[in-house]
Amino acid sequence: MTDNAGPDGPTQLEIYRRVALLKANDERSRKVILAGRLVMPYYSYRGQEIIPSVMSAVLNDDDYLVTIYRGIHDMLAKGMPLKDLWAEVAGRVDGTCKGKGGPMHLTYPKKGIMVTTGIVGSSMPIANGIAWGSRILKNGRVAVATFGDGASNIGAFHESLNLASLWKLPVIFLCQNNLYGEHTSYERATSVKRIADRAAGYDMPGVRVDGNDPIAMFKAAKQAVDRARAGEGPTLIEAMTFRFQGHVFGDADNYMNKAQKAAAVEADPVPIFRARLISEGIASEDELAAIEAEIERQIDEAVEFALASPFPELSELTTDVYAEGPAA
């Protein structure tokens, strides 16, 4: 029922627009932190930009996303406005969550970004429920749960995939396999060679794909989303990628394999994608440079907006706990 076409030129350019935004935003985040303008726990996604950029190009605006602490790339790709995002990570009232959630709990239902969790594995059970709701409402929306390779070893993964398959839910389990879970390498934590192979244990399609290849990633994402929307059930996608930085910005990352890391950085998917867009005539150097310049400008604006936004009042400490206000 789904064809196997890759993205056309305009779609690729659309994807690149996101990729460039994500990369620039990551670099700016680290710069702002290093400059001491902002203090926050920051989980860099540098190297993983292609995956969510493609996924969001395949999704509709009103499809749902449940993501994790390392998920700012997912959110930006899904359409979270830069200003709201920056104000939130700066802990200001103009943030998506009035500054109360922070970088690990950004939420933006207007673009379907329903939950960001800091608990490994917890995106999946919740995405199931959203997908169940979609199906009852027959609104055609699908839900995507993103998570890491490390998360594929925790109980919630297992329970979620079993339930989703049994219930044939319109959900996509998107594993971003960056080969590390905190300080632990893939092989030291995961007993199976390919996480995608675990899908068979749930009678669910499982596909391992090069998440840094926009064409391959597009095909895999499209197939999964089409399947979900057609009521055929969930898919597990294992998108291979790499985390260029340590687990949390500032850690020494001595636990990472130096050669493996150097090779991955050498094969940075963003400049490769960019070069191909030009070589294939999809966009000119000037066009891309203009896009990138515009992104920088928007980030400038967002950062300044965020840092000028006020902190929340202390009364916020006890609001939003219950609908009615403070209790007990």
């Binding site: 749902y64 939420t107 919740i126 199931n128 109980g155 919630a156 049994l166 609001t319 939003d320 219950y322």
Partner: protein, 333 residues
């Protein structure tokens, strides 16, 4: 089953809860039910609390699940986020231990962490209580954990009419409500609720008036408190029994009003006494009534030990009416 329950004179707790969920589902398409064995092919739950619901409302709204409590609560949270009001069953309260992340890190906090953008209007039904002879892992009262977790509400009815009214309130509540059912008294009868009867969350009930001592309690053991009151009445002690019904937020006003009369307080629950809900109530009461109490606040709960199997031990685990009566008498000494 459901329609008849509110037409009968006497109903069991099971019938009352069943009727409450059925009535809510009939009124509002957004009410869902999920949990192990809850649908009719599985007999509507291990003891039939959800019997008939899937036949009446369909298996898309009433879903039996695998044995996977994280998946159950996760699905309920997700559905909540897109506008549904799920009633999720965690069969026994001890099994909430495998779903605490979903309940406490997520359901309780999403409203706050999202700055009010999302919320989780789900109900978590769960059964517990000693008396079934099931030993150490099936009968704990863990309401203190949930009470300590801001963002949750906790209710625990002692009789069918309140069970109905609190379920209706819980389903309508915009936040997550932990709804605790006492298992050994599930088949106990009481007066039937009026259809549509709502017991607002946070409202206690004076189930017996009195002037010497106030017993504050909730869940099944309220009935033992009433028995204790009758015992000491014979010795000339007049006891007021307050059924909190809601543990969070507990009805301070009602408790304070009663203590204003009696000046003596005994908190009774089936949970372990140490670090239990009774500690919070005793601490608040001791402070609020500093210098005005006629005796120190008494607390009764289970001993600091797991639930034992052997019948004589199990029977001695939760405070008995006799023990409550003795405690009350002690307050008058």
């Amino acid at each position: 089953m459901s329609e008849s329950a509110t037409k009968m004179k006497r109903v069991t707790n099971i019938q009352a809860i069943n009727a409450a969920i059925a009535d809510a589902m009939a009124e509002d398409d957004m009410v869902l039910v999920l949990g192990e064995d809850v649908a009719d092919p599985e007999e509507g739950g291990v003891i039939g609390v959800t019997k008939g619901l899937s036949s009446r409302f369909g298996e898309e709204r009433v879903k039996s699940t695998p044995i996977a409590e994280q998946a159950i609560i996760g699905a309920a949270i997700g559905a909540s986020l897109v506008g549904f009001k799920p009633v999720a069953e965690i069969m026994l309260m001890n099994f909430t231990t495998v779903a605490m992340d979903m309940i406490v890190n997520h359901a309780a906090k999403l409203r706050f962490m999202s700055g009010g953008q999302t919320h989780v209007p789900m109900v978590v039904r769960t059964m517990t209580g000693v008396g079934m002879g099931s030993g150490g892992q099936h009968a704990d009262y863990l309401e203190a954990w949930f009470a300590h977790s801001a963002g949750l509400k906790v209710v625990a009815p002692s009789n069918p009419a309140d069970a109905y009214g609190l379920m209706r309130a819980a389903i309508n509540d915009p936040d997550t409500v932990i709804y605790i059912e006492n298992l050994p008294s599930a088949w106990t009868q009481g007066d039937a609720p009026e259809p549509g009867h709502v017991v607002p969350i946070g409202t206690a009930k004076v189930v017996k008036e009195g002037s010497d001592v106030t017993i504050v309690s909730y869940s099944r053991i309220v009935n033992d408190a009433l028995a204790a009151a009758a015992m000491v009445e014979e010795e000339g002690i007049s006891v007021e029994v307050i059924d909190l019904r809601t543990v969070v937020p507990w009805d301070k006003e009602a408790v304070f009003a009663s203590l204003g009369k009696t000046g003596r307080c005994c908190v009774v629950h089936e949970a372990v006494a140490q670090f239990g809900v009774g500690a919070e109530i005793a601490a608040v009461v001791s402070k609020e009534f500093y210098g005005r109490l006629k005796a120190p606040v008494a607390r009764l709960g289970a001993p600091y030990a797991p639930v034992p199997y052997s019948k004589p031990l199990e029977s001695a685990y939760a405070p008995s009416a006799r023990q409550i009566a003795d405690e009350v008498i002690g307050l008058m000494a």
